[in-house]
Amino acid sequence: MGHPQVNFRKTPELGSAREARLINSLVVIAYILPIALILGPFCIFFVVSFGRVEASAVVIDFNLSNYVRILADSTVRMVIGRTLVIGIATALVCTLVGFPAAYLMKILGPTRRSLLMVAFAVPLLMSYVIKIYTVRNLLGTNGVINHFLMASGLVSQPLEFFTLSYYGVFLTLTSVLLPFAVFPIFLSLDRIPASLVEAAADLGASRTRIFWTVIFPLSLSGVAVSLTFTFVLAIGDFITPELVGGPNGFTLGRIIFSQFGLGFNWPFGAALSIFMMMIVTVALALATRIRPPGKVTF
């Protein structure tokens, strides 16, 4: 007895055929998983979008009625229009507010920069619903904001802008999605070599000129990511309009959501989803055009 026995055969050798097989199979799984779990459901959705509901059951008979309804139904058209407006407004406001925040993050010293980064990152760690409820408390006819405005005598009656409505959805999305604007812009600013800014100053440029001729053009890739992130997340959201939208705060996401719930019209919901994907694709295609000229590599 005494000495423990070591079984060398059970230790796989580095780079052995066995290990190579294991790696290969993992690689295959890594590729198959997204294909199966994303492309699969998408195909099913695509097929379902050509069906209809008959006697509480989905019948797939490959008709275009759902797509015709999207284009013909004035209510649906109006909701799509308002959703696009909310999406564009959210993307613009987030990016306009996020840019100075990101710029501040870039120029602050390391300690304050970290603090600011944490301040923007903490909301990302919180539950989405909690964040929306937080904003919801502020909004409404008797919400904190309107209450304060009335009590301080600044307004004589509650402002519609701060009620649970279409505006509420916009305000909530803007505040919830702000980190998705700040961080991409910060990353693009942070990647600009300090020597470029020094070179511009060396050639006589003022701070303002350096910003508009060097820093801003070279941060456009971050701006593009910020605009697409916030736009795509805003138009697809259904929880925010559900919780703070009130009776008139309908958006595309909320309508899709209802088709799979109370509305029970999966084919129409699927068709709306496909339609939304088309909007997102167009938005992404447009965003790739927002970049500095030349070939920027750093």
């Binding site: 470029l196 070179a199 060396d202 050639l203 030349g294 920027v296």
Partner: protein
């Protein structure tokens, strides 16, 4: 007033926290002078350039431009332009837009800018490439764009921060010649930073040798090369023999010293005031020592090795008196006859004018 230096750095110090980067730096840059600051990394040479450029402020001391103090004047209002080590070309602008940037800042008319940009691109040999983007150009071409961008503003002083460090050897030599000829052509002062002593010697009107944040020696290339002020400088510039010796007699700037290879007459800096009996170091170039056959007299040393390197051969001589002390001598290969075989006894003839004595 041609005697007035363009730039004077007076008692400059720079401290970052507890780290002293520059200590008591006094340095002038003359009108139309090509000054090279050379030193190992961390010697403070780049800080000197950045301080004159206005990127860094000195902790103490003054910087003067034609006699007027320029401390605190921001980068964009100093009449100097920099060629950065990584070129720092704007990647989103064409070559022409890069070169014209400084003129647009000055508010020149568009057609004037176009004309000057074309002229300057011609000057650096990139006449046809104005519409390209920096990413489409080679390292050497980018270097020229960076130079053109600085020169077009007609600066009083061009600051070059190790601009050739990223280029391969062939291109480096080509660019050195090019820089020197441009500097003569446009008659502007250049401040050139490098860690490469050969580059310093081939480019400079004057060289400033830095070590640990201090200026060790400033002088013409042949001065720092043949008459180093101390062992550090003697060692920095190439293949000096550093021979331990003892002072016997002093006569003006002439010093008679005893070396492991016999007596030698050397010269030293008059300000040094050597004393008889003092231990010193001789700095002597291998090409400034001559070997003679012993011819019956007692040999000072014997040949330890001979390596043939073309027209000159490098002979290593070991002292007879104190084995271990060696001397490298460059001898014409054609003269390498029988007396200089390995093991042969030789005597050493010093060229007094070029044998330099420094404090140990």
């Amino acid at each position: 007033m041609s005697d007035q230096p363009l730039i004077e750095m007076r008692d400059i110090g720079k401290i970052y926290g507890s780290h002293t980067v520059l200590r008591n730096v006094n340095l002038d840059i003359g009108q139309n002078e090509f000054l090279v600051v050379v030193g190992p990394s961390g010697s403070g040479k780049t800080t000197i350039l950045r301080m004159i450029g206005g990127f860094v402020e000195p902790t103490s001391g003054d910087i003067l431009l034609n006699g007027s103090r320029i401390n605190g004047i921001p980068v964009n209002r100093r009449p100097f332009n920099t060629v950065f080590q990584d070129y720092a070309l704007f990647p989103h602008m064409t070559v022409a837009a890069n070169v014209g940037y400084g003129l647009r800042v000055k508010g020149l008319a568009a057609d004037e800018i176009k004309k000057l940009v074309a002229q300057t691109l011609d000057l650096v040999g990139l006449g046809q490439l104005g519409s390209r983007y920096p990413a489409q150009m080679s390292g050497g071409q980018r270097q020229r764009v960076a130079l053109a961008r600085a020169l077009i503003c007609k600066p009083r002083l061009v600051l070059l921060d190790e601009p050739l460090a990223a280029l391969d050897a062939g291109l480096r030599h080509q660019m050195q010649t090019f820089l020197k000829s441009i500097q003569r052509e446009i008659q502007t002062s250049f401040l050139f930073i490098t860690h490469d002593q050969e580059e310093a010697i081939s480019l400079a009107d004057r060289i400033c040798v830095m070590d640990h944040g201090e200026v060790v020696q400033v002088g013409r290339p042949e001065e720092v090369y043949y008459r180093p002020c101390n062992r550090y400088v003697a060692d920095f510039f190439g293949d000096n023999n550093l021979v331990d010796a003892q002072v016997k007699t002093v006569n003006g700037d002439g010093v008679a010293v005893e070396t492991p290879f016999g007596m030698a007459v050397a010269r030293g800096d008059q300000g040094m005031h050597f004393n008889a009996g003092e231990a010193v170091t001789l700095a002597v170039r291998p090409e400034n020592v001559e070997l003679l056959g012993a011819n019956g007299s007692a040999p000072a040393g014997h040949v330890k090795s001979v390596s043939f390197v073309g027209p000159l051969s490098l002979v290593e001589v070991e002292s007879t008196k104190s084995p271990g002390a060696t001397l490298h001598v460059k001898q014409l290969s054609s003269q390498l006859a029988a007396p200089f075989k390995i093991g042969a006894g030789v005597t050493v003839s010093w060229k007094g004018k070029e044998t330099w004595v420094i404090r140990k």
